[in-house]
Subunit: 136 residues, 2 copies
């Protein structure tokens, strides 16, 4: 059983983060001391690793909460449910990627047409194209 400080140090988190996860219903330590110190068991720690692994693949705390619920009661859920969550998250991320790609393309185009020299920006092609309604 570990106290919050130990657990935090071990996983390079702040104790505040662990308390935050508790408030978010992600990880509640199985025991409390008389003086209300948190004590985390091996299982709690395993749950924390689950959470951290989820974060690594880009899941939000909301997603993780849902996945934990499934993991807690696997028999209540089908593989389909789980896969669904993962796939819809992947799709959502793809949408964000697409959006950013189009930003990137637009910026690259702006940059490519610019001399980038040290002369005054009086006729800067970037500023000019941002000023004019070429594309609309």
């Amino acid at each position: 059983m570990k106290k919050i400080g130990e657990l935090a140090k071990q996983y390079q988190l702040k104790t505040d983060t662990l308390r935050y996860y508790e408030k978010q219903q992600l990880l509640t330590p199985s025991h409390r001391s008389v003086s209300d110190y948190r004590f985390y068991t091996q299982l709690d720690e395993k749950r924390l690793r689950f959470i951290l692994r989820c974060k690594k693949v880009g899941l939000s705390l909301d997603d993780i909460r849902e996945l934990l619920r499934m993991d807690d009661q696997r028999s209540q859920w089908s593989c389909h449910d789980v896969k669904d969550l993962v796939e819809s998250k992947a799709k959502q991320i793809q949408t964000q990627i697409d959006r950013l790609e189009s930003f990137k393309d637009a910026l690259d185009t702006l940059g490519k047409n610019c001399c980038g020299g040290h002369e005054r920006a009086i006729n800067c092609s970037i500023l000019d194209s941002l000023e004019h309604d070429d594309d609309e």
Copy 2:
């Protein structure tokens, strides 16, 4: 000269957004009526279009503020300065894209190994891999 409501309607913004841009030092109407109504000139409107075009290419309000400063005083800046801003923003966006791509890959991998069937998730491969420390 347009009142805030007209301008907002024309560009499909909320009047609040326009006021917000003013507070952010992006767009200050050139005139005020006796009763303190905002009046936007053609130039103000042009400036707004500049802002909206910047947003379209993914620039933040902070970026836009900087770009407007350059546009306002082109002779104070070089093409290099302008190009630099645009390119560094493009790089920053690329970093975000890379991060999301790696999330996407991880989720795709999880999803691919999962049957996605309607059976109970007792042995769900997704949950299993999130539980075990395979990759660390």
